[in-house]
Subunit: 233 residues, 2 copies
């Protein structure tokens, strides 16, 4: 993934600078990449989240679940198309803007797809939740008009509601499944944080503390998502 943050903000690139004092808690908006890079990554990510939803639909055990999940796939398709349109409006080639993110995000998707339908919908719920929060946060640093459009495209409240309902119904009275999905959720958040960190171009060691506050907040939201299912993060 493109390393915006390192390139733009002169983040410590070598271990020697790791323990420098952190000046301030940076808000996510201060990390926002240039609009085109933001749009390219977000547009490909939306395709990725759409594919997760498509897989959940294909695996759905009932007609009711399959049909309900269409509301989960929909916002990601719309967001993808909106972001592609935004890139075109700026005279950029959408494919060129997305391409640099393809390999890492495809690999991410393979890691998080899950073994069965239950894991697949936990993936939809948690990864889309986390990464949509992340991109909504980053949008705060975009030009105001674009920010507004992105915030509209990144509205997955209905999708999250549908997923919560499906998951609560699945977990209800099934503590073994609940335990398995809690574990799956823990694994997902690790992989998903790596994607977000990668997007910011922050190496595993260098610069980690600098964006800590951002991730603290994202993880708090993740914990609330788990708690909504009665699971421990």
């Amino acid at each position: 993934m493109a390393g915006w943050f390192r390139r733009r903000r002169d983040l410590p690139a070598s271990p020697a600078r790791v323990n420098e004092p952190i000046a301030a808690r940076l808000a996510l908006a201060e990390l926002t990449p240039p609009a085109t890079e933001y749009l390219g990554l977000a547009a490909y990510l939306e395709l990725t989240l759409f594919e997760d939803a498509g897989r959940a639909i294909a695996l759905a055990p009932t007609t009711a679940a399959k049909s309900a999940l269409s509301a989960v796939a929909q916002p990601h398709l719309l967001a993808h198309e909106g972001m592609v349109a935004e890139l075109r409006r700026r005279g950029r080639d959408p494919v060129g803007a997305m391409e640099p993110h393809r390999r890492d995000l495809d690999e991410y998707r393979r890691r998080v797809e899950g073994q069965d339908w239950f894991e697949a919908i936990v993936t939809c719920y948690l990864t889309a939740g986390f990464l949509t929060d992340f991109f909504r946060g980053l949008a705060a640093g975009l030009p105001p008009e674009l920010r507004t459009r992105m915030e509209m495209l990144l509205d997955i409240r209905e999708s999250q509601r549908v997923l919560t309902e499906l998951l609560l119904a699945a977990i209800d009275g099934n503590p073994r499944l609940a335990a398995r999905l809690a574990m799956w959720g823990r694994r997902l958040v690790g992989d998903t944080m790596l994607v977000a960190r990668g997007a910011l171009g922050v190496g595993i060691v260098a610069g980690q503390e600098r964006i800590e506050p951002v991730f603290t907040e994202l993880i708090a939201a993740h914990t609330r998502r788990m708690a909504a299912l009665g699971l421990t993060a």
Copy 2:
């Protein structure tokens, strides 16, 4: 699949009546089932076509193809949601209306999913083309207001344009692939006609001649679709 036609039109149910003279060439509109049955089958079919498109997106070999295919998935999601909303408006349970068609359509989807991306996009192109024609034709017999809404939901022109473009690019200068996809197309149309016939509740022998004209027209459109790729149907 529910046997509307047989139930509603008193089609010959036993071989004894097979060779009765056929009164007239029935237009597809005359075969239209009650609105709720139409909507239930069409809504589940749209989910099926959406799943085909989702699979094509997942298998797409390039970012450009993946992104372009979002325009192929989109209309089926919208159509599904529109039809579900229409069932609700009529006070019907959408899941109950879709359920009777699930087994057959899931089985159909497994048969037509194809071995690789090329076959998967031929499937999207030909099965959605054929079955959308079929349901647009049937819509002519619905109450006028519902008919108009269905015709709007069943507009896949942009999707067909995208698929034609992707397929022409793939086939260009690759006669071996062209031959393989032509063969795949021939197999698809057989399975797809069975779905349409099943939807009308017409047995393999009984009543076949009665709907022949309808299928003649649908097959002519299929042949034009193949010809648009330079393939023989």
